[in-house]
Structure formats: structure tokens, C-alpha cells
């Protein structure tokens, strides 16, 4: 009976993204949005960073993380529009939100490949 459905899968990605945003994002934001640009900590040199970022494991991890973060955002924002603004064009909202996330995911792949 139970045919596969999309809702549970999207919800799983939403939850995964929520965990990633809570556990991994804070330290990344602390370093790259504040500590390095504002020189609270002297920024690591380029060679070291490109070695860390360009490592296949890092790239794979970043790909997974960015994609679930994008799905997380899209999913949450979709329901914010339904509930908070009472937007009735539900299908359009869903297409726009997940569509944006999909474009973001493609961009992510392109950017990560360029850094490899």
C-alpha cells in the first residue's frame, strides 16, 4: 500500500538542514562573517584554505550541507508564506520556493566544482 511520497522526503531534508544549520553553521558564520573579515582572528593564508576547501571530503560535505540547508530554508519559508501572510496560491508558492532551492543547489555544484 504505502506508495512513496514526496512530503516525508522533503520533511527529512528539512530536518537534516535544521540540524546542520544549528550545529555547523554557527562556527562557519563566526569565522567567515566576523572573525576573519573583522580581524578578530588573523585570517588563515590562502594556501591552507584552498587545501582545506579543495579537499574532496570537504567538497562532498559542503555539497550535502548546502543542499539540505537550501531545502530547509525553502520548506520553512513556504510555510511562513502560507501561515504568516495567508497566501492562498499554495502551488505557486511551493513551486517558487523549491524552484529557488533547486537553482541554488545547481549553483552550489558549479561553485564547488570550480573550487575543486
Amino acid at each position: 500500500m504505502s506508495r512513496p511520497r514526496v512530503e516525508p522526503l522533503v520533511w527529512l531534508m528539512f530536518s537534516g538542514g535544521g540540524v546542520m544549520a544549528a550545529v555547523f553553521l554557527p562556527v562557519l558564520v563566526f569565522m567567515f562573517a566576523f572573525a576573519f573579515p573583522l580581524e578578530w582572528i588573523s585570517p588563515p593564508d590562502h594556501d591552507h584554505l584552498s587545501a582545506v576547501v579543495g579537499h574532496p571530503l570537504t567538497l562532498l560535505f559542503l555539497l550535502g550541507m548546502f543542499v539540505v540547508l537550501l531545502v530547509h530554508s525553502a520548506h520553512r519559508f513556504r510555510y511562513t508564506l502560507y501561515d504568516g501572510l495567508q497566501i492562498k496560491a499554495k502551488r505557486t508558492v511551493a513551486v517558487l520556493c523549491y524552484g529557488t532551492a533547486a537553482v541554488g543547489a545547481i549553483t552550489t555544484v558549479v561553485v564547488l566544482l570550480s573550487a575543486a
Binding site: S2, P8, D83
Partner: protein, 263 residues
């Protein structure tokens, strides 16, 4: 020393003003407020105040109540905007007033403080809130019921919290998702499904999941969490719904991995 609540409301420890929603479908096009002053007595609840009005001041006021002790679940109203059992909300806690008493939010108003609960009554049976078994373990040779299903205290403990629901619908009044989309199954119904799923005697989890995995089942819930906060019996419907999402997601992954056949 209480006695005759009708006499001289101002004398005892003063009075408090109730702003009560009135709506008479035969003459009013929309609800309005009417004010009543009722005696402010330490042991009086909002429901006692309404009964004072009904008995002594204005017999046309309509509202539901029965047990006056938080058991029957029929006296739910929005008190100063919060869904409350009025038999458990003390006037004193709202002093000096005024106290706004409105019909339970998110339900259509039938008259004054009485709301239409048909939608809820139709939803409850949809989650099959009864023990489902595929065997007839208790039937003897003649098809008569013989014996009982045993349960350990731990097994009872597993679902006890979810069995405390008194169907007061405060959680529905607190839920903006239900308010915006009445198709949503809603907190208490899903908590009740969880109550039977967790019951060791029950084998019906699959059937309930089939109902709740649908779009209007659990997916509309955005975990506002207000249902759990207003529940007078600490049922935690919000928790039950999230756990159903986890269950549905697991089930779905299984369905992907094993497209056909066995669990």
C-alpha cells in the same frame, strides 16, 4: 460563607467585569460584547461568574459546561485571548479585570459562547481511536469474548500521557494552522492516534499512518507548539505530531528501499 451570590455583588471583595461575547443567530449579523459585573470571590472561577450572570442577571446567555472540575472538557472558552477551561480559570487571577470571555477560537459560533464542534467530532473517528487487532486472541470457539489482554505497568506508561485527553479542543483553538486550514486533522486527533499506536494491545499503527501520512494529516503542522502549551492535561499533542512525521518518514524511506512487498 458564600451563599446567595446574587445579593449585592459589590459587598464581598468587590466585583469584576466580564466582557462576554453575545451572538444570537436569529437577530445578530455578527457577535458583539456585553458587559456584566460579577462578584469577585476568591474561590470563583470564570465559569462561576458566567453561571452567576445566567442565574441572576441575564438568563439568555448561552454557554456549555458540565462537570466543573476539569473532567468533561465542555467549558473551553477564550479567556483574555487564551484558550482555557473556564471551570479552572479563577477570577482572582485576572483581577482587577475586565475579563474578556469569547467562544473558543477557530470554531464557528453557534450562539453566544457556544461553538460548533462538528468538525472535530468528524475528525476523531478518522484516526481509528480504538484497539485494532488482526487476530481473535480473545474469542473462544463460539465467537464469544473470553478473557482479556494483559498489560504491564511499563506498557501502560508508554501511552498514558496521550490517553489523558478530555477532548476540550483548547489545542484546536490555539492552533493557527487549524485556524487557517480546517482540513488539517489537528492536535488532539493526532495525539489520540499516537495513544493507540503506543498501546501494546493494539496492532493498528499502519492503518492510522495511512490516514495521517496524507497531506491534511501531519504535514500541515509547522510545530508552533501552542497546542501543547494550552493543554490542561499535559498531553503534548505537538510532540505526538512530530513523532508521527518521523514515523511517516521512516515508513517512506522503507517504501523506497523495498518498493514492493514486505514491510
Amino acid at each position: 460563607m458564600p451563599s446567595n451570590p446574587g445579593s449585592n455583588p459589590g459587598s464581598n471583595s468587590g466585583s469584576i467585569r466580564l466582557q462576554v461575547t453575545r451572538y444570537r443567530p436569529e437577530s445578530d449579523s455578527e457577535p458583539r460584547f456585553q458587559e456584566y459585573d460579577v462578584p469577585l470571590r476568591k474561590e470563583w472561577t470564570v465559569l462561576d461568574g458566567l453561571n452567576h450572570v445566567k442565574n441572576e442577571v441575564d438568563t439568555t446567555l448561552s454557554f456549555r459546561w458540565s462537570c466543573r472540575m476539569g473532567i468533561c472538557g465542555s467549558c473551553g472558552m477564550n479567556v483574555n485571548g487564551d484558550p482555557k477551561l473556564t471551570c479552572a480559570a479563577f477570577l482572582d487571577d485576572y483581577a482587577p479585570g475586565p475579563i474578556r470571555v469569547e467562544p473558543l477560537a477557530n470554531f464557528p459560533v453557534v450562539r453566544d459562547l457556544v461553538v460548533d464542534i462538528n468538525d472535530f467530532m468528524e475528525k476523531l473517528p478518522r484516526v481509528k481511536p480504538w484497539i485494532i487487532r488482526d487476530d481473535d486472541a480473545l474469542l473462544d470457539g463460539d465467537g464469544e469474548i473470553d478473557g482479556e489482554y494483559l498489560q504491564t505497568p511499563e506498557e501502560l506508561d508508554a501511552y498514558k500521557q496521550f490517553s489523558m485527553c478530555i477532548n476540550c479542543m483548547l489545542c484546536y483553538a490555539a492552533c493557527p494552522v487549524y485556524g487557517l486550514d480546517p482540513e488539517f486533522m489537528g492536535p488532539a486527533a493526532i495525539a489520540l492516534a499516537e495513544r493507540y499506536d503506543l498501546d501494546s494491545r493494539d496492532h493498528g499503527a499502519r492503518e492510522r499512518l495511512d490516514v495521517l501520512i496524507e497531506h491534511e494529516g501531519v504535514w500541515g503542522c509547522t510545530f508552533v507548539g501552542e497546542c501543547t502549551r494550552v493543554c490542561p492535561n499535559h498531553v503534548d499533542p505537538a510532540g505526538a505530531i512530530q513523532r508521527y512525521k518521523v514515523k511517516a518518514a521512516k515508513e517512506n524511506v522503507m517504501a523506497f528501499l523495498l518498493p514492493r512487498g514486505a514491510r
